[in-house]
Assembly symmetry: D2
Amino acid sequence: MHKIAMLGAGLIGRFYTMSLLGYRGKDEVKVVCARRPDEAAKFAKEFGIPHSTADMTEAIRDPEVDTVIIGIPNYLHKKAVLLAAEAGKAVLCTKPLATSGPEALEMLEAVEKAGVFHGYLEDLVYTPKTLKALASAQNGALGKVLWARSRETHGGPHSDWFWNKQLSGGGAIVDMGCHCIEIGRNFIGKNNRPLEVTCWADTQVHPIDAEDHAIGLVRYDNGAIGQFEVSWTFRGGMDLRDEIAGTEGTVWLNHWLRTGYEMFTNVGQGGYVAEKAEGDTGWLFPVGDEIGSLGYVEMFKDMFNSMDAGKRPMEDFYDGYIVNAIIDACYKSAETKKWEAVEITTWRGESSSAAEVALKDYDETHFLSKEERMPNGNLKIILKDKKTGQISQVIKE
Amino acid sequence: MHKIAMLGAGLIGRFYTMSLLGYRGKDEVKVVCARRPDEAAKFAKEFGIPHSTADMTEAIRDPEVDTVIIGIPNYLHKKAVLLAAEAGKAVLCTKPLATSGPEALEMLEAVEKAGVFHGYLEDLVYTPKTLKALASAQNGALGKVLWARSRETHGGPHSDWFWNKQLSGGGAIVDMGCHCIEIGRNFIGKNNRPLEVTCWADTQVHPIDAEDHAIGLVRYDNGAIGQFEVSWTFRGGMDLRDEIAGTEGTVWLNHWLRTGYEMFTNVGQGGYVAEKAEGDTGWLFPVGDEIGSLGYVEMFKDMFNSMDAGKRPMEDFYDGYIVNAIIDACYKSAETKKWEAVEITTWRGESSSAAEVALKDYDETHFLSKEERMPNGNLKIILKDKKTGQISQVIKE
Amino acid sequence: MHKIAMLGAGLIGRFYTMSLLGYRGKDEVKVVCARRPDEAAKFAKEFGIPHSTADMTEAIRDPEVDTVIIGIPNYLHKKAVLLAAEAGKAVLCTKPLATSGPEALEMLEAVEKAGVFHGYLEDLVYTPKTLKALASAQNGALGKVLWARSRETHGGPHSDWFWNKQLSGGGAIVDMGCHCIEIGRNFIGKNNRPLEVTCWADTQVHPIDAEDHAIGLVRYDNGAIGQFEVSWTFRGGMDLRDEIAGTEGTVWLNHWLRTGYEMFTNVGQGGYVAEKAEGDTGWLFPVGDEIGSLGYVEMFKDMFNSMDAGKRPMEDFYDGYIVNAIIDACYKSAETKKWEAVEITTWRGESSSAAEVALKDYDETHFLSKEERMPNGNLKIILKDKKTGQISQVIKE
Amino acid sequence: MHKIAMLGAGLIGRFYTMSLLGYRGKDEVKVVCARRPDEAAKFAKEFGIPHSTADMTEAIRDPEVDTVIIGIPNYLHKKAVLLAAEAGKAVLCTKPLATSGPEALEMLEAVEKAGVFHGYLEDLVYTPKTLKALASAQNGALGKVLWARSRETHGGPHSDWFWNKQLSGGGAIVDMGCHCIEIGRNFIGKNNRPLEVTCWADTQVHPIDAEDHAIGLVRYDNGAIGQFEVSWTFRGGMDLRDEIAGTEGTVWLNHWLRTGYEMFTNVGQGGYVAEKAEGDTGWLFPVGDEIGSLGYVEMFKDMFNSMDAGKRPMEDFYDGYIVNAIIDACYKSAETKKWEAVEITTWRGESSSAAEVALKDYDETHFLSKEERMPNGNLKIILKDKKTGQISQVIKE
């Protein structure tokens, strides 16, 4: 059983607290910290949390607390992590870990030096669908993963600070690209080193300095591609999808807009439909278990179970650091209009498999390239001569 | 915090235990009871349950235990309930409550007389999707519910006793119709009395005496129809869908085969795909959070929270009794090939709204029947003369 | 090349004409006949049809015409067919063929006596999806078809006469049940005799005498069930789905609301979305090729190709007669609240396979009932002893 | 009525011929030309085409023929077009128009100089879904189109020549990127000039020189992004999807794998499922009307109707030229790892709208950035101060 200081009482603090307290759990939130005392007090009252404060240091140093959960704006993460490390508390930090790679590295070094438990709250790799699909991929169901496309698009974030590049560290990339990058990294395999990125980013719709739309490709040393698509300009709700392609299989995950819950209403239902939904009449696509579908429940389970078992969680600050390093390269590429190398000071992955094409024999003199059943029922086979490289076809009726 | 005796170590006992112990919960399973001592011991070991036994009475009377959960074959429910009532323990019973309406009534009277907490473990009304859709319906998003269709079809149950009419009380109707009937009842409104049913049932595929396929209609006093479709002959996995139609809206819930998780694999993934899945190559449709999607998590949350709060849970033995009474009428109708009345000895619902068509005025002399936009852009309006009843149309270009 | 008299200039006449003239076809519509001369003239001008008239006899007897297509209200079908038969013209009649079984039989006898080509324009068995699925079923992909469920629900028909029981012969059953019944009959196999029906029908919403909602089951002599669900009360557009279940497979066809075309618009698109769509903002589900998706293109191709080849089309008046006979039994059952026999004077089907359960051997002493992979990876097998009938289970780890 | 020489008897010639002859059409194929005389003769016999030959010049110059349709390998397009132009025949050329931009330009100049009708057979912009979605976009339903993503992935092409870079001009980009690029161009608007591209391409799986996987971004002068994703490495069938995002709406088109036709079969159906399907048991996703769904029917209708009306078709050689110019830039970018300019010698588009963010007023001193309904029911509004640029939020309870 753990005793928690919750830093932040915004949407993310709410989701975290609902996950922690919603299921007859044995862990307890002892204190909540928010920007303003009244805001903190209101939140504490709503969730039955015994203490509230607007003083982050006080919350972190609360003697009853053994774990600090950081759910505050990006530019404050470092300060909170350093305080928690100093206080010798376990620290779980929301995504992105930092506003840049070097800052993330500093935070990683601080927690490692202090020897405290550190978890990176990358919830979207913890959705039940993602966990199960990752297990399938790891069991070989997809063969070698070639391409991991992850997308998060909606109409923009909830809080004002997120729209301010100085406070958040960027726009849609830093807000949502961090999710997509880490999802791709998990499917491709964390031992594979991200080598370089290309990224397009633009401000297409909103009156802001940061990008509200971006697309990027991350190339790994085994030849796999992690693709992210993030936008604050999307209409129709929140689109949260992952599509993984391997040599032997494919996985498509839809986390939000098409999950088997469809409603038409002519009159509306008086209120909230789903996070970032638009409108409340016509065809609506609510999500049954929002907190579970976003991965919060499994994430905290892994964090606290790992803490109890004395082992690393699935996602820790090292992962957060890698993601920040990739994001830095993305912003650079969006400026230079070239592929840019990912700068990682301390690569801890093992050497990964080489980027090679696996050749399949058809017969002694040919490689097999493809087989397909045609509309007239024939089987068509594409071959390559092992010596001459000549491509030919065989048709079996 | 509650201390539980789990009766049953089959699939249902497993799902229940995983729900109770899977999420860092504070409630504890103190003893598990199974048919054979070794089976009980193995289960206890797997889940870290301190005691195991093959003696149901011993488990129920265990002085540490305050709550008995019944996850054993239908023909044993009554015995377990009577023992739990006698021991003054809270009792949560799996579905169906009993093998017949009169038996269910006897069990209801026993727990009420003993004054113990009683919950009916009808998990499928507790899925996060269903709870949210029920809330929408109750908020008026669908207008008056006219038709609630619920379907559960798969290739047949897991345990031998379920295929034996004497032990289970029937076939697909008693196994799955109980879910569908109660889902319909919740959407239509529990205050509306089920009046009569018509039901077709047949043994189409399996070498058994019980029905392996059935379709039924339950007519409520407000004119609404609850429809169930249940089959042990379905190919392609488990089809679990609810479709609710009201005067102002529609809800479609898909709980299993199409929930936004799609996988193609050429090589398989070495093992379990999802409950009642067929095959493990080609296109597969796993379910992310099986236990959550089946309603177990929210169900136990409601049960224990209600117990703590001293109030009735969403589903109790009275609901189980009504469902059994409807099932009895279904079996009768399948024999007589006529609509049969639902026999309810003690109807506790309030009087429901009458089965009337609500008339909408178009103008002083006409009712509005329908409006539609045509392919050529015209608006076509169908009217009924208030006096003559004559139907006419108006076209607006 | 054929020369056509088109009777009717409503929605159905429009769809028919668009199908016939829309694809650089060689067949020609020579004359169109509508209720009012101006309506006919306007329609003729729109589609480049040389003649128009309000006189049905004149259109049918037009010496240039070799084929009469009937797209007028149900109560006028018989008159048009008798005139066409008398004139020795090929006659293609929209659905339902007649307002009752005996009327349909009279029409069948008239065209057969006159020796003219007769086609029953049951478009929904001709959708490209349905044709392909029927071919799969006939190739054995589904094993024995056990259950064919077909559904058509929307907010009600376009024309005033359809809401008038006297003119149309009924309500939703006669309007849409005819489609669903014939779809079921095709999948189950036309050689299987429909024996009896049970049907619920009610007027739940509209201010009319006819039923606006009905559900029916048709039992065939081989034990298969054809199920139809029809409603004029549905909200959310037009729901057009078929679900076929067999011993070896399943087919799900969605013809309208979910066909891979999804649009969200905040501003609307100024006009028609799809037949019977509701609203034009929010999430919309248009249909790409409405005419093709409804089967019109393939239907007329079959009709004229069959005419040219001197053979029966896939659907002729005999099929229309069987459908009307089933509908008559449905209306009777809705009154008597019992299963009612289908009265067919002249059954032309061959004898069908008996309604027997096919037993599969597991070993010498047991039948196999079911196999399933369990969550813990075990294989569970349900068996029946050939002699004692005892059911047992085997678990393979 | 037109008389056609069909060059090519492979899969594409088959689809073209089925489209032209399949629907009681008035146009006729007079001669078919294939690599080998026996292949041509067999094809002619199958489709009832009066003449066949292996001599392309003979087919083109056939005095009965007025229209030449080119369905042969890419490296032969130029020769065929020059011959057709010389013979003064209308010429319809399959995609891609040429193996490079300069070659395409030469072909464009030849047909324009000869004054013959020229059509570019880019079928995928002609699918009924695409045509309808384009009409919606042009009617303003999506606002300004910001992002048009188009994807075609499958296991690789049918014919050997396509796998040979020298004969086809490239790999997956030249094979399928041409479709995706032109789909994007249509949605974004043909008047908007494609300025530059970035492209990743790799050979991940097959033993070939050409790329079997590529992702590219095309930036238009109005700020919109056309994205293509093409792969010959995809497992699970053919994935053919377009996703268009605009300031006011979204369109998602799925042309192949999820179109409302789902089948499970335990036994297979003995043969062809759908183009590029994998396997024939388990869950399958056939396509009802393959030829219609791929756009062939509407494409030829537009081509011949435009020819008859003396106007340009929706797609002509100029469009083919632009696509080839974009592809050239893609191949260059894949080499240089930088954004590369699209070289268009003769830009015929009008000047397009500038790439500007449209500002919406909230009140006199603020721009509106976003509004959203929160889980607790509050409305949250993000604003930007018009003078200071400061971002702030307003919460309405």
